[in-house]
């Protein structure tokens, strides 16, 4: 018999809901079977903690006296450039932004010690941030410059807004060339020296609801230590990729756009990172509750690491050249064991997302729901699934090759 979200919420209010983590659900389904598990368990909690470059914040600093219009000017936060293309005192900062004087990869591999993601972490930690603005004056906004320290308590709205997060599965990166390379999936030693991966696997949100049947726009989630919401499917959402018999995508597939109040968040779950030779990124903690509405959902939430396959991709050539070759498919149980076999060679594996933190998030969310402080939401619109026909297109703009040649 199917359950509704309203019924589950009523149980949560009464403190009677049965809430388990995605790890615990594996054993429950193994022991009791899908039918019984679907009856007994109301909510499965998931979690992931990894680097998500498509993260950013926006905030409103309030109006200065006299007024200033940052929009159309330039704005820096701890010398990191932010976006000044909104209204007078709204600012957007992306996680990967770098100070203009950062040498990047000029001294290879670059170190990228401080960027947008570190500003976000410092802001969340309550630290003072140096704000520098230069702009033009108008009759209504006469002021042309501003230098000040601000912290999160000085701001009106401060909002985390990530356009792509919680990737449903992802590439395993290797290096087939004969020199070390530095990528967003870490340092890759030559000749298949190591294989790097980044997914919480069996704990990962979208791998536990592979067809997005319970989540959608408006779903309340754990985000950065506070409460957030799914606002849209994420950029590069690609639900139509090849899937296993269990419905689980075998490639990077679905993504989520998420939003939440930065003032509720904590640097425990939002962390600036420096990736040698690559740049700056933000590690974000996300947890999704999955209502076990029926046996099908109970089955999906019992997915195990060994049932989830990821593609192994050569980041020395195939990835940068956008070639489609996949060297092998490996499962997360093998990846998490610390060693996999590729092309007959034993290759050490390195995780970039923290399984320990993913587990902690799933447990925190479980406690929030059990204690009644977190109720589930019925999505107001679904996330597009394979039936939508949505595909992640490669670049199809028309390059102006002659112009480039002339310069």
């Amino acid at each position: 018999m199917a359950k509704t979200i309203e019924e589950i919420n009523e149980k949560i209010r009464q403190g009677k809901a049965v809430v388990v983590t995605a790890e615990e659900m594996i054993d429950i389904v193994r022991e009791k079977g899908v039918e019984k598990a679907a009856k007994e368990v109301d909510v499965v909690t998931t979690g992931t903690f990894g680097m998500m470059c498509s993260s950013g914040i926006y905030f409103n600093i309030g109006h200065t006296k006299p007024r200033i219009k940052i929009g159309g000017g330039k704005v820096y936060l701890n010398n990191v450039p932010a976006y000044a293309g909104y209204a007078a005192v709204d600012i957007f900062l992306g996680a990967t932004a770098l100070p203009e004087d950062d040498p990047r990869n000029k001294y290879y591999p670059g170190r990228f010690p401080y960027g947008g993601a570190h500003v976000i972490e410092d802001l969340v930690a309550g630290k003072d941030i140096l704000l520098n603005v230069t702009t033009y004056g108008t009759d209504c906004y006469p002021r042309k410059s501003l230098s000040a320290y601000i912290n999160i308590n000085d701001l009106n709205e401060a909002v985390l807004f990530n356009v792509r997060n919680a990737y449903q599965n992802y590439n395993v990166a290797v290096n087939l060339s004969n020199k070390t390379i530095y990528t967003y999936l870490g340092m890759l030693r030559p000749n298949l020296g190591n294989a790097n991966y980044s997914s919480a696997g069996q704990l990962s949100p979208l791998l536990n609801d592979p067809f997005y049947k319970t989540i959608g726009i408006g779903t309340r989630i754990f985000l950065g230590g506070g409460i957030g919401y799914i606002v849209w499917h994420g950029t590069q959402h690609d639900p139509s990729v090849i899937r296993g018999e269990n419905g689980v995508p075998k490639r990077g597939a679905g993504t989520l756009a998420v939003i939440g109040d930065l003032k509720q968040m904590s640097p425990n779950w939002l962390r600036g990172t420096s990736i040698i030779g690559y740049g700056v990124s933000l590690a974000v903690g996300i947890g999704l509750p999955i209502p076990v509405l029926d046996e099908e959902i109970a089955f999906y939430t019992s997915v195990k690491d060994e049932d989830i396959y990821a593609p192994v991709v050569d980041y020395s050539k195939a990835y940068p050249e956008r070639e489609p070759e996949i060297i092998a498919e490996v499962n997360y149980k093998d990846l998490r064991s610390g060693e996999i076999e590729i092309l007959g060679k034993k290759v050490p594996t390195n995780p970039l997302s923290s399984y320990a933190k993913a587990r902690e998030i799933a447990n925190i969310l479980k406690e929030w729901i059990k204690s009644g402080r977190f109720l589930l939401t019925k999505p107001s619109a679904p996330i597009p699934g394979p039936e939508s026909g949505i595909k992640f297109k490669p670049f199809s703009g028309r390059e102006i090759k002659e112009e480039v040649g002339k310069k």
Binding site: F49, P113, P348, N350, L352, Y355, A356, K357
Partner: protein, 137 residues
């Protein structure tokens, strides 16, 4: 027998003198040089693993001290900041001496300074800057 990893700071006047060889000749100690460099201000820094009989070990260390070599255990110079570590375990397989380890049940990372040779790989690659080497090189 004992084995210890130490960091030696040589003053300028010793930079071109044979010192370590005397640990073998005079005190019958084995050594393994893990790292050696001369800083821009001509101070020598060496990370050394020394093995030998306890008594000889003490004498060898005393000999170095008399030459005004500053000595400290290596473990004081490599720091794992657990408040910064997110236990992603990214570093674990890069660590050549297994000083960084992941518990296979809890998936939590731990650091054993006694096994560390201060190679510095973890410092380069940790995205969270949780590893720090205070060795002045």
């Amino acid at each position: 027998m004992r084995t210890e990893r130490v960091v030696l700071h040589f003053p300028k006047h010793l930079a071109d003198k044979p010192v370590i060889v005397n640990l073998v000749r005079k005190f019958d100690l084995d050594f393994n040089i893990l790292k050696a460099t001369i800083t821009p201000d001509e101070e020598g820094v060496m990370v050394l693993e020394i093995t030998g009989e306890d008594e000889n070990f003490q004498k060898g260390i005393q000999y170095l001290k008399e030459l005004e070599v500053k000595i400290q255990p290596l473990s004081q110079d490599v720091i794992w900041d657990e408040t910064k570590c997110t236990h992603c375990a990214y570093c674990v397989n890069y660590c050549p001496t297994k000083a960084l380890k992941r518990d296979e049940k809890t998936y939590l990372v731990s650091f054993d300074p006694q096994k560390c040779t201060a190679c510095g790989i973890c410092v380069d690659i940790c995205p969270y800057k949780a590893m720090e080497i205070k060795l002045i090189i």
